[in-house]
């Protein structure tokens, strides 16, 4: 766990209405680790995640401060590197309905691999593997909007799983899942030997999956450290609306 796979330096970002979502954030993610990012609502966790895949600097460039720097696997997150970075970093949105947009689940899962320029045979193999992995076999011809919320969450996971990214950035992956669905997803995630950045309010999942935790509050990194040391700090958790 020595190699830094993600480096975030002096990242600041404000939304068009002037809300400062990220304020001079500095963060390192190491290869193979599972990093939990926790914090209250509006702490800037999701905004940070969107920067790791290059979505926000691209679509709202003016709102990201000039001195901000995000590096993924040695590549600076900027326009000329986005194609490679997006194949490396898979991002799961907070609301699964934002992630699904195709007429059939098959097309949605195939969307990423096709953008990666894979042959149709390989695309099909990856789609089938993802459907199998997330127990969605038999749903491939269905419209993703007709799935239940829990199924949509799994389908959204399958859409990034099919791209086989090196880094999974997951925004609230267990929300809307029933207890069994949550348990199954945690098991799947624990078996995946890739780098994971998990933004969540589900502290139980963080305890089970993560080696390290970053606590965010009002757009800043408030604390970071091992799971036990963070969770034993009652004052910190209360101050960051986690208790």
């Amino acid at each position: 766990m020595e190699k830094k796979i993600v480096e975030v330096r002096h990242l600041s970002f404000s939304y068009p209405d002037g809300t400062l979502a990220l304020n001079d954030v500095n963060l390192d993610v190491y290869e193979g680790e599972s990093l939990g990012i926790i914090g209250g609502n509006g702490a800037g966790k999701s905004t940070l995640l969107l920067h790791l895949n290059g979505i926000l600097p691209e679509t709202e460039k003016r709102r990201t401060a000039d001195e901000s720097l995000v590096i993924v696997d040695g590549l600076k997150v900027e326009k000329r590197n986005l194609e490679i970075i997006r194949a490396k970093v898979g991002i799961l949105f907070q609301n699964p309905e934002d992630q699904l947009f195709s007429a059939t689940l098959y097309d949605d899962i195939a969307f990423g691999p096709r953008n990666m320029g894979l042959e149709e045979g390989e695309v099909e193999a990856r789609v089938n593997e993802a459907l199998e992995r997330f127990k969605l076999k038999g749903y491939s011809g269905k419209n993703p909007f007709h799935l239940s919320l829990g199924e949509k969450r799994l389908a959204a996971m399958a859409t990034i799983y099919s791209m086989k990214p090196e880094i999974y950035c997951l925004d609230e992956p267990t929300s809307n899942l029933d207890p069994r669905g949550r348990r199954e997803l945690i098991e799947i995630l624990s078996m995946m030997e890739v780098t994971k950045v998990i933004v969540t309010h589900d502290l139980g999942m963080v305890k089970e999956l993560c080696n390290r935790v970053v606590v965010m509050n009002r757009g800043k990194v408030e604390a970071e450290g091992g799971v036990d040391s963070i969770f034993s700090n009652e004052d910190l958790l209360a101050r960051c609306r986690l208790k």
Partner: protein, 281 residues
């Protein structure tokens, strides 16, 4: 859904060209061309069999186009088309004219045949397949992309409508009466706002999975599949058939098939006399 039929397996470009020429043939046939229309219908029936798509799929959708054609052309029989036109009947003191009836009949036949052809194409190729083949045949990339995105957003928009309707219904909205119009207006306004925001988030989802215009162009360019023999033979055989159908009257005259020509004309006479029998209506 791919049913693995002969038509499904054909290259999209070959199908697009064939059914486009079919529609041009339908449009170019003159009125009274009953044999010609029958020939084209036979071609469509054979295509439906080759596509393995259930007939019910086509019949269900055909109703929509027939209603639309009736709305557009339903008034035609009530207008006199030239001095040679004559009245065949009347309904509620409105005169019905012979040429108008024939025009309406033609409109229904042509629109049904064209629509069926488009359905076979869509059913065996899919919208995205049609778009990419159109792009390979010279459609500007930006136009193809816009159409593709519009198609994608249709489903997203549909979902937004359902969500909005549910939200309104859950709070007692029924939307039956005229005084509900302002509420409907507000809902539509809200729908536009939500759709705009949603489209932005969908765009983010596409970007996050590597979508880019450059990437897409390269993918299309790199994946031009080689046409097989069947991909050439199917349009070729179809075009020969369309030419035969299109020039059937002239061919019969040239070959001096007077007896057959008479039959052909008599069919037209039957057609007119059927309309003439409406006099008693």
């Amino acid at each position: 859904m791919n049913l693995g039929s002969f038509l499904h397996s054909l290259d999209a470009r070959s199908k697009l060209l064939t059914f486009l020429l079919f529609i041009i043939t339908v449009i170019s046939i003159q009125s009274y061309g009953i044999l010609q229309f029958a020939g084209l219908l036979l071609y469509l029936l054979l295509s439906i069999i080759l596509s393995r798509i259930p007939l019910s799929f086509f019949l269900k959708r055909l109703g929509f186009i027939l209603v639309l054609a009736l709305i557009m052309g339903g008034f035609l029989p009530f207008f006199k088309h030239g001095n040679s036109d004559y009245q065949v009947s009347s309904v509620l003191s409105m005169k019905i004219y012979q040429k108008g009836l024939i025009l309406l009949g033609n409109l229904l036949i042509r629109s049904s045949l064209s629509f069926l052809a488009a359905l076979i194409l869509a059913g065996t190729t899919g919208f995205t397949g049609i778009l990419s083949s159109m792009e390979r045949m010279g459609l500007p990339s930006s136009l193809s992309l816009s159409l593709g995105l519009a198609y994608r957003y249709l489903f997203v928009l549909g979902e937004e409508v359902v969500t909005l309707r549910r939200a309104a219904l859950s709070r007692g909205y029924r939307g039956k009466w005229i005084w509900h119009t302002s509420i409907i207006g507000k809902l539509i306004g809200n729908l536009f706002l939500r759709s705009y925001e949603r489209s932005e988030r969908v765009y983010h989802a596409m970007l996050s999975r590597g979508f880019s215009i450059k990437n897409r162009r390269e993918r299309l360019r790199g994946k031009v599949e080689k046409m097989r023999r069947a991909d050439y033979l199917f349009p070729l055989a179809s075009i020969l058939f369309f030419l035969l159908v299109r020039f059937l009257p002239s061919i019969m005259v040239l070959l001096e098939l007077h007896d057959f020509q008479l039959d052909y004309q008599s069919l037209s006479v039957v057609h007119v006399s059927t309309i003439g029998s409406l006099r008693g209506f």
